[in-house]
């Protein structure tokens, strides 16, 4: 720090250190999770309102997100929570990068630990794309995909984040999240995360996976602001460019199971009723569908809360608004120990009146049983 006058003695340095220590409050995980859900819901609603106003973003992030949304629209649902992530950590080796990306616990860790090692590679235009691992159950599909610029063309970074996947029926896995982490300028580890299509049965399946393009980052061309005469607006400038593929794969995969129930339980708070119509618990996630009725102002609502079972808490981390005001939520992890009583605890419903965010305080507590 830059100390102020009269504070350069050893005692002041010690005071500095002690003050930093004294005020270094660690946010409790539960409080952080609740706040994160609120902010995530706000981001989702801001994205929706932004799009309703006809705004379009020109960046790589926006293009990918919009392509995800386009897929969702074709399914007559609007995926509202997503993330596209690029991680740091060059030089750690691909396995280390994947380990870091999936983290120590949660859905991604469960999927990674249970994944099948695939190791299928395709090379096109000097870019080798490899499906390293794959995992699927009744709720989610995870793909670990590495990309390598074999000609080392001098890009500063590469990534492969727009993968698509279908089962042998032709049903699509809906994309919701991609992550990419570079291992030097020519290699990257990527993790793609999908929602399984309805009716995906446990057992052996054959997935068709396509990586439509590889993205490369080129910083040799400066932004328009630094390039006199470049006509494009600053918002449209990006150092990322796409190299068209596709890289296609046929991947045999054993799909894990999941248990589904239709509880039809409901709870009301302040005249707003939440009805829980469907829950699917799989090893890597818990998903469910709720319907909200009676809320002032109508509109669509996203739940902030958690699912609880056998002493474990699974935070809700995403919501999808579907037709007929149905809301599909997804929790942060799953379990194979499904049997017994479960609780869905919705602390808040977050919606919009068309111009600003509206929050309804709960809790709505709904119990249900899994076989």
């Amino acid at each position: 720090m830059t100390m102020t006058e009269g504070s350069t003695t050893g005692s002041a340095t010690e005071l500095d250190r002690d003050l930093f220590d004294a005020l270094a409050f660690a946010p409790p995980p539960a409080a952080t999770a609740a706040a994160t859900q609120r902010v995530a819901a706000a981001i989702v609603l801001a994205s929706t309102m932004h799009e309703r106003r006809g705004h379009r973003s020109n960046g790589f992030l926006a293009r990918l997100v919009l392509s995800i949304r386009g897929t969702a629209r074709r399914r007559r649902a609007v995926a509202l929570l997503f993330a596209v992530l690029i991680l740091g950590g060059a030089g750690r080796g691909l396995l280390g990068l994947y380990e870091g990306m999936v983290g120590p616990e949660g859905s991604a860790r469960t999927a990674w630990d249970r994944a099948t090692i695939v190791g299928a590679s395709q090379t096109h235009d000097g870019y080798r794309v490899t499906i390293e691992r794959a995992y699927a159950d009744a709720n989610v599909l995870m793909l670990a995909i590495s990309v390598h610029d074999l000609q080392n063309r001098g890009w500063t970074q590469v990534s492969a984040m727009g993968a698509t996947a279908t089962d042998e029926r032709g049903d699509s896995f809906a994309g919701s999240m991609s992550m990419s982490s570079p291992d030097g300028p020519s290699v990257a580890a990527n993790v793609a995360w999908f929602t399984s299509p309805p009716g995906l049965t446990p057992g052996q399946h054959t997935l068709s996976i396509s990586v439509p393009a590889v993205s490369v980052r080129d910083t040799s061309t400066p932004p328009p602001a630094e390039s006199p005469g470049v006509a494009t607006g600053e918002d449209s400038w990006t150092p990322w460019h796409e190299v068209a593929g596709p890289w296609r794969f046929t991947v045999p995969l054993t799909v894990g199971g999941g248990s589904m129930v239709h509880p039809q339980s409901s709870a009301s708070v302040g005249g707003t009723e939440v009805r829980l119509t469907e829950v699917t618990v799989s090893p890597a996630s818990v998903t469910g569908t709720i319907a909200v009725s009676g809320a002032a102002g109508g509109g669509q609502w996203l739940p902030v809360g958690q699912v609880e079972h056998a002493g474990h808490t699974y935070a809700l981390h995403s919501g999808v608004l579907g037709p007929d005001a149905a809301i599909t939520f997804q929790a942060s992890d799953g379990t194979t120990q499904t049997s017994g009583e479960w609780t869905l605890r919705i602390n808040e419903l977050v919606g919009s009146d068309g111009t600003q965010q509206v929050r309804l305080a709960g809790p709505w507590v709904l119990t249900f049983w899994m076989p």
């Binding site: 409050f25 991604a108 970074q157 980052r217």
Partner: protein, 209 residues
Amino acid sequence: MQDAAVTTAVPGELSRTGDDRPRTAETTRPDDASPDEAVVAAARTDPAAFRLLYERHWTAVYRYLRARTGRDADAADLAATTFERALVGLAGYRSEPSGFRAWLLRIARNAAIDASRRHRATEPIEASSLIALSEPGPEGRVLAAERSRELRALVAGLPDAQRDAVVLRYGGGLGAREIGSVIGKSEAATQKLLTRALARLKESYRDHD
């Protein structure tokens, strides 16, 4: 998905590793404030990019509010409110020398002031924590915890403006110029405020040794 554990970034521009410092994928630039501005620009056209700002500044905002309110739940609630307001008000943010974090903490400060007006009972910075100094445990840990409690109580006893400056400095991680932009004072006036606060704390702290 393990949302909280992963790192979020605008593709190709930024990433965050274990600490709070911004990095590019190729180089580390811990003191460069410009990455925030790039993400703010991205978030204006794609609100999803706001997530990076949240992950980068959450801890600082929480610590500042935790120090002001004295309660975990109040701090987390106000921190979430801060980011919600920031997201809504992002279009009105103009790049300023004090940076995005100072702008955020200004919103946090206003949110805390609003809340304290609604709930007068809020107790700042554990003012009564000197009472509980005798908990068992390894000597070093107990002494460190004791020092921290003592300091928090001393900070709580500072005049409002000095207390705010100290909390913004040591909880929010701001420098004098940034603190000044939050509390509406010049950098020089803020330096003097911090100097007086630290001198007062040093004297009281020494008295307790």
